[in-house]
């Protein structure tokens, strides 16, 4: 947390009244309260993502898609605590942390900044979880579930943890001055690139391009978008690591940018197709949220409005173009998160203002053109590393096992084939098995009277 934390403390000192009490070694109840909430909010984003993604697929793959998010809560969460956190925030080198905090050794209730270091670990863990889950949008409806679990486990350690270290863990990108308030590059570009690579490695769904594959439950998509927005206040606001003015700035920007993106998207939709779509509005919210993520605590609210509005354009047109290609990035993770994150990261370099946040830097608009270059470089570095390592992981995994569902299974739907369940069932024609296999003891109990 090193560098980032210093910035935050610096700005903190300007706005918090009880600043005298804010030595590096003491907890702040207020900051702790806000970070407790933020951690809960970011954790909620993963179930929200499950609904956003789950509503967009066909009903026969609903559960499979939702579980790709839910399982990350387990797999990525546990691995983060065991090693990921240490690889990301351990001292280590400029490129990766170390194992000094593996198994959470030394991560306790002592302050890290003004909050317990354990809480910082938990907060960062929720980021690791959702980043992995984001990738799933590119591989739904065809990737086998067990290889998927292995993939996100490995990816979290080999890709997410080092990239986090680069930017926030004292690594080279942070040192270089790259601004990434809450994860434009670390989370969104990273997941977006991994997604498109995974889509290419897996290949398109067999119906892709031949049949109309349309969302089975758009209200779920809206539910997901709404709750993602809510959770994102913790994502961006919590990245201030304190309940201070910067948190307020980040939170309000996280309200304004998606609002502006939504309005712009609505106008684009109306001009291009004469219809304003619900899936479009949901997508716009996410794109606006993604784009403001790297900038949230570094730009003024007016800039956030502009940034949100601008971010609509590239993602809007790339989504329209993508579906006409053979790249089956099924739920447009690249267009929404990769491109949105890129736009946001570059525009951070344009709009950042040291006047609003002394812990940040000035951007192009305030005379520091170089920041755009630094931003571009940070995105590029993350994209190349993430793309390459994701490719290798999947290819190796593909040697060990079949990562793609059989064509028949794809036809039947992965809910039945991989999970043995249906999302919506009415029980007609379902016949109970197993009654005869009741073990002896149970048979005894079976003989109990149904009512006492």
């Amino acid at each position: 947390m090193a560098k980032r934390f210093l910035l935050v403390v610096a700005t903190l000192a300007l706005v918090v009244p009880c600043a005298y009490a804010q030595e590096a070694s003491s907890l702040s109840g207020a900051d702790t309260a806000w970070m407790l909430v933020s951690t809960a909010l970011v954790l909620l984003m993963t179930p929200a993502l499950a609904f956003f993604y789950g509503g967009l697929v066909r009903s026969k793959n609903t559960l499979n898609t939702m579980m790709m998010s839910f399982v990350a809560l387990g797999v990525s969460g546990v691995l983060w605590a065991l090693v990921g956190y240490s690889l990301a925030f351990g001292k280590g080198t400029a490129f990766v942390g170390d194992f000094s905090m593996a198994l959470l050794s030394g991560v306790g209730l002592e302050p890290d900044g003004s909050i317990p270091s354990l809480l910082f670990m938990g907060f960062q863990g929720t980021f690791a979880i959702i980043t992995a889950a984001l990738i799933s949008g590119a591989v739904v409806e065809r990737m086998r579930f067990v290889p998927y679990m292995v993939f996100i486990a490995v990816w979290g350690l080999l890709v997410y943890a080092p990239v986090t270290h680069w930017v926030w863990g004292g690594g080279w990108l942070g040192e270089m001055g790259a601004l990434d308030f809450a994860g434009g590059a670390v989370v969104h570009v990273n997941a977006g690139i991994a997604a498109v690579v995974a889509a290419l490695v897996l290949g398109a769904r067999k119906d892709y391009g031949n049949e109309a594959i349309i969302p089975h439950n758009v209200p779920f998509v809206l539910l997901g978008a709404g709750v993602l927005w809510f959770g994102w206040f913790g994502f961006n606001g919590g990245s201030a690591l304190a309940a201070d003015g910067i948190a307020a700035l980040a939170l309000v920007n996280t309200m304004l940018a998606p609002a502006a993106c939504l309005v712009t998207w609505t106008l684009l939709d109306h001009m291009v197709t004469r219809k304003i779509t619900a899936v479009g509005i949901a997508t716009a919210i996410v794109v606006g949220l993604v784009a403001i993520t790297p900038a949230a605590g570094f730009v003024t609210p007016a800039s956030a409005l502009a940034l949100g509005a601008l971010a609509a354009f590239p993602s809007y047109f790339i989504i329209r173009w993508r579906v006409r290609t053979s790249v089956d990035d099924s739920l447009d993770v690249f267009a929404a998160h990769g491109v949105g994150g890129l736009t946001g990261a570059l525009l951070t370099g344009v709009f950042a203002s040291a006047a609003i946040n002394a812990g940040g830097a000035d951007g192009l608009l305030f005379g520091n053109a170089g920041q755009v270059g630094i931003q571009a470089l940070s995105v590029l570095a993350v994209a190349i590393y993430s793309g390459a390592v994701t490719f290798v992981i999947l290819k190796v995994l593909g040697q060990v096992t079949e990562i793609r569902a059989a064509a028949d299974d794809e036809g039947i739907g992965m809910d039945i084939t991989d999970h043995g369940e249906e999302a919506y069932a009415d029980g007609e024609g379902a016949v109970l098995l197993d009654r005869t296999e009741v073990p002896l003891e149970a048979n005894g109990l079976n003989g109990m009277q149904p009512t006492l």
Binding site: I213, I214, T277, R320, W321, D332
Partner: protein
Amino acid sequence: MKLIKAIIRPNKLTDVLRGLYAAEVFGITVSRVRGHGGEVDAVETYRGTTVKMELRDKIMLDIGVSDSFVERTVSVIQRCARTGSVGDGKIFILPVEKVVRVRTGETDTEAVTPVQ
């Protein structure tokens, strides 16, 4: 005995049912179906994917009637389901060899006479 199979617009169902009850046709089975015919297809767009919806929501009625009821049933449906625009639907009259009421085992005409 005949089975009258009528495909109508969903928003005409209430009218048709009222008409049938008035004509003393009480035994009716209804299903949600979708139909293709002469109607213009709706175009929908999902994230840039444009699709043409070639099927429209319709309602299918299955009505078993004794021969003497066929004509009035058909004419009630025709009257109540009509809007005059393409897509109003079709009525098929199929021969039936036998009808059985599950509850009583009554057959044919008795089977379709409603309980009082």
